[in-house]
């Protein structure tokens, strides 16, 4: 019995830990529950670039990330999907139309000369812009991880976002329009110079080289800058040395140097390369759920989950008596540990995910049902209570294992091939199945053996109603 007391301790600790985790780490809710937009963006190959490689995807991803940042949605996620798609998640986006419009379309990279006499203005506008950007970033850093934003904060975010956009426009207005676009840039490479400093080499085609020579000639030595804009946002504004005032920077290639670290040089490289890609991107899937609808779904699923769990608990207690009640306790522990596991592993809970969780409750019960049925059979065959319980667990094990493994195989297939929502379901069901194996084989087992170690519970009728009493250890068929 000491063994089971030790196990009881372990189970208690786990349960308390689970409760702590649930209260401390918020559950991550999917966009279908908290509201927001999920967009799948397809990168289209063109005649010039018929196949899309990892390198191009990286560049396009940077461009899309830049656009997403421009939307000012906190906790937005951009990730690659397959070889030519990007998944963009925009929690709580207030204007899905605008988001979809901004994210689609080919990147716009431009090299534009600064207008004469705007030096001071550029500095001021840039400072204002940096101020807004910094304030926005600081505000977004304070947001709770759960994504609950009150309307005041939302209003402030929207206001700052508008300020940033306005500032960006003001900055862009200080540069002359230009025809030197990303289509004429052939490459951008970050490379180290001396010590820890880095620089970025850019390379134009012949037409671009000529245009760049013109622009650089016009501003060389004036202190004015060449503005490099991606989607109308200023990426970098290098000056051109006076020595190029005669001819401009010729040869189609130039080096942007300055206070680049390895990281910032690499950022600029990818942004430039992304801007140089004439790859159109198209929004091929849009799933947008309003926040009110999401809250509604949570409530409904909560009712469904509680009602489902309640029905199962009542059934078990009524049908299986004492073991049923013990299994009920194990089941509640199971639900707590599983929920905690979701929070701990950072599983994003979607609507199908909740369904998978509710379903796994049924699965968790199955193991107990197998064990108790077996125990009853052994009791009816005239074994003692202790031996019946023991062989109930022992003999049911292979069925439980086989059943769970086959379910896990399905989950694995779903997870591997499925997308988005389907993955969520497979993950929650799989976690549920694995934890249910544990709770059925340890929690129920421990509780059962502790219960039959107490004399008042050692009555076979508590385990199997209507059992014709057989004197222990006499009959064996």
């Amino acid at each position: 019995m000491a063994k089971y007391r030790a196990w009881l301790g372990v189970i208690l600790v786990l349960t308390i830990a689970a409760v702590v985790v649930i209260t401390q780490i918020p559950t991550r809710l999917g966009l279908d529950l908290r509201g927001g937009s999920q967009l799948t963006i397809q990168v289209q190959p063109t005649a010039a670039i018929p196949t899309i490689t990892e390198r191009e995807m990286e560049a396009v991803q940077t461009v899309v990330e830049g656009r997403v940042n421009g939307l000012g949605v906190s906790e937005a996620v951009v990730q690659q999907l397959g070889n030519n798609q990007l998944l963009v998640q925009l929690p709580g986006v207030s204007d899905p139309q605008q988001a979809e419009r901004v994210l689609g379309g080919t990147a716009q990279l431009e090299f534009r000369a600064q207008r004469p006499g705007t030096d001071q203005q550029l500095q001021i506008e840039n400072q204002v812009l940096q101020g807004h950007v910094g304030e926005l970033a600081a505000l977004q850093a304070t947001l709770p991880a759960s994504g609950e934003i009150n309307s005041d904060t939302q209003a402030r975010i929207d206001k700052l976002q508008a300020d940033v956009t306005a500032s960006e426009k003001a900055v862009a207005a200080l540069f002359e329009p230009s025809t030197l676009g990303g289509d004429k840039l052939t490459d951008a490479i970050a490379r180290p110079t001396s010590g820890t400093l880095w620089e970025v080499v850019i390379q134009f085609n012949s037409e671009g080289g000529n245009e760049f020579a013109e622009i650089s000639k016009a501003i060389a030595g004036t202190g004015r800058t060449i503005g490099i804009f991606l989607d109308n946002r200023l990426l970098s504004a290098p000056t051109v040395n006076v020595q190029y005032a005669e001819t401009g920077i010729t040869g189609g290639s130039a080096v942007i140097s300055g206070n680049f670290t390895a990281e910032s040089a690499r950022d600029l490289e990818i942004q430039l390369r992304g801007g140089a890609l004439p790859l159109p991107v198209e929004v091929v899937e849009n799933r947008t759920v309003g926040p009110t609808l999401g809250r509604d779904s949570i409530q409904r699923s909560l009712y469904a989950g509680i009602a489902g769990l309640g029905l199962v608990l009542v059934f078990m207690a009524v049908y299986y008596r004492l073991p049923g009640v013990l299994a009920d306790i194990a089941l509640v522990i199971y639900a707590l540990i599983t929920w905690a596991a979701f929070n701990l592993l950072g599983v994003t809970l979607t609507l199908p995910g909740i369904a998978g969780f509710i379903l796994s409750i049924g699965m968790a019960v199955d193991a107990n049902v197998l064990i108790f049925e077996r125990t009853r059979e052994e009791l009816q065959a005239g074994k003692t209570l202790y031996r019946s319980v023991e062989s109930g667990f022992y003999r049911a094990f292979s069925s439980i294992l086989d059943g769970n493994v086959t379910t896990l195989i399905s989950c694995l297939a779903l997870f591997y091939f499925g997308a988005g929502l389907v993955k969520g379901f497979a993950l929650t069901l799989a976690i549920g199945v694995i934890i249910s194996m544990f709770t059925a084989l340890t929690c129920t087992r421990t509780l059962m053996f502790l219960a039959i170690s107490l004399p008042q519970f050692r009555r076979p009728s508590l385990f199997c109603p209507g059992l014709t009493p057989v004197r222990p250890d006499t009959v064996r068929p």
């Binding site: 926040p291 409904r300 489902g308 369904a355 019960v365 022992y394």
Partner: protein, 323 residues
């Protein structure tokens, strides 16, 4: 209660055959009428679905249900006559529009036109789903692939734990469950216009996992009984194995179905049909495990001269000992 599985196997097989045939016929009719065995939903067919809810608190516009004729008028103006419409919600205040795939520049004017004509709608309760044709095909292919792979995985695992013939018969029972579930939704699609989406494939896979579980429990018992009484005929072994596990089979089906019934009652529209598919599949799965998979195993063993499992070949790997 004692079931005579073997004796009445003609009856059990008859029921299954009729159900499977009805399902296949339903799918064939659906194929003829809709061009697909099941009515494909947005996920597979592609298109745009807008679900708009009238903002009822702010304005007093909710006294009357939405008029479909008004909506059609707006859609006609936008050149979207062939769209399908549906009113949802208790007091018909929720509008669901399904159109061809709309780009954002087509969708935005439609939304504002609708808002003006019959709105205002609550932006917090708006749901937009757009699935491009490419994505639709992708979702279908990946779903079917997942189904095939899990079938193969289960065959491999069961051949390892049992034997190949057990595995193949279990798969046969699985196919039975999947066909009946699909058939039920083909009928629902024809009668009520119910569509299938990615979640339907999820439900099929879950059914596969659970149903094979039911079959495994019975086969496990058959194997154990065969070992305990080597001289018995396979028919008797199967009969007693099914009856010994019957309470378990019924109770497990009950406890898994109870939460699903809760989802059907409380769950939103998305999960309702998902839960329904699971209920149909689980019931079919329990039936096929108890009546079909078991009797087929007996028949197969008898026909292949393995009615008495005292041959050394019949010994199976033991589960690891649990102390």
């Amino acid at each position: 209660m004692k079931l005579n599985i073997i004796q009445q196997r003609g009856l059990w097989w008859g029921i299954s055959t009729v159900l499977v045939l009805v399902s296949l016929v339903a799918m064939a009719i659906s194929w003829q009428q809709l061009g697909a065995p099941l009515k494909p939903g947005l996920d597979f067919a592609g298109g745009t679905r807008l679900q708009l809810t009238r903002a009822c608190v702010a304005t007093d516009s909710c006294t009357e249900p939405l008029e479909l004729a008004d909506v059609r008028q707006v859609l006609g103006d936008q050149g979207l006559d062939s769209s399908s419409l549906q009113l949802l919600g208790d007091d018909q205040q929720v509008l669901s529009i399904r159109t061809r795939t709309l780009t954002v520049d087509e969708r935005a004017p439609l939304q504002s036109a609708l808002d003006e004509a019959i709105g205002p709608f609550d932006p917090g309760s708006t749901q937009i789903d757009t699935v491009g044709p490419v994505v639709g095909k992708q979702l279908l292919v990946s779903g079917l692939l997942a189904l095939l792979v899990s079938f193969a995985g289960i065959v491999a695992y069961m051949s390892l734990r049992f034997k190949l013939d057990y595995a193949l018969l279990a798969i046969l029972a699985l196919a039975h469950d999947v066909i009946i579930t699909a058939g039920t939704f083909a009928i629902l699609g024809l009668v009520l216009g119910v569509e299938v989406d990615s979640l339907f494939i999820v439900s099929l896979l879950t059914i596969v996992g659970f149903s094979v579980n039911d079959t495994v429990v019975i086969y496990d018992r058959v194997r154990e009984n065969a070992k305990l009484s080597p001289g018995s005929h396979i028919n008797d072994i199967v009969d007693s194995a099914v009856n010994q596990t019957l309470a378990r089979s019924i109770n497990t089906s009950l406890t898994t179905t109870l939460p699903l019934v809760a989802i059907v009652i409380f769950g939103g529209p998305t999960l309702k049909y998902f839960a329904l598919a699971l209920i149909v599949g689980f019931v079919a799965g329990a039936y096929s495990s108890i009546f079909v998979a078991s009797s087929l195993l007996a028949l197969w063993r008898e026909r292949t001269g393995q009615a008495y499992s005292d041959d050394p070949d019949g010994s199976e790997p033991q589960p690891e000992a649990q102390s």
